[in-house]
Homo-oligomer: 173 residues x 2
Amino acid sequence: MAYHLLQHERKGAAALASALSRALQDLQHCQRCNNFSETPLCERCASPRRDASLLCIVESPVDMNVMEQTMAYQGLYYVIMGRISPLDGVGVKQLGMDRLMHRVLDGLVQEVILATNYTNEGEATAHYIASLLEEKGIRVSRLARGVPVGGELEYVDAGTLAQAFRERRLVER
Amino acid sequence: MAYHLLQHERKGAAALASALSRALQDLQHCQRCNNFSETPLCERCASPRRDASLLCIVESPVDMNVMEQTMAYQGLYYVIMGRISPLDGVGVKQLGMDRLMHRVLDGLVQEVILATNYTNEGEATAHYIASLLEEKGIRVSRLARGVPVGGELEYVDAGTLAQAFRERRLVER
């Protein structure tokens, strides 16, 4: 990309450079959700139309965006900006879990939805947060695992199918 | 395939032809599970090691095979050999639902697991079977829908993610 910009897009390169340094200067972490924001409190956290009793915990800003795209969730978020990953030297201290706990225990949150990835690191992170929230009187939930919507069993991997069987749900009458 | 066999694999073509006509002659539907079988009662249905209180309903023999590959399920099956699909002219009559009901109400089955596909036709078929089983005193469950095992939210489609949110589960303590 750098070569292309320098050879064919010198104006684009200048624009990118100035945009990046502006972002470096102006962007900060939102005080409530920890996502990038131009203001101390981001637009979403400041909005009175979001449901403050639901807090969805995601690993990264991208995950927050995909959750927003579903149009199914109206609550607030907390962005960890990482995951527990001992191999990369990222432990509990690096992730600022005390800040997360401070956010969760604001008195308004009634349910925490763990929306970390279903990878090993994401699962470990979810387990750790769930253990921190034990006996705090807050509902803790996790996104459902199983067969994707529109999916045919024939093309689903065995691990997912086994999980979908173990976590089968009673059909409501 | 036909051209390849006739040009390069004439022996293979003969073997395939005889295997197919043997299958046409010898294969029948198992009296209990409706799957193809060489005997009136297939090996799986005759096995005393399977749990007769669980009955998993699938659309096709392939779906039964993938469920078996998970090694997570020890119950019995019923293979519908199709799905409700008005566009293809397949309705309730063509699928032999009375035979299915006869199988379910054998007195041993305590739970029916609807493992039809998560396509529109599969969902309609599952709904119809669930409605037939209403007030029969049998648990009816459905495979879980949601994020695949190992999945990262970033690469999951919005419909699946919305479903995973709506069907989120409480984390067990």
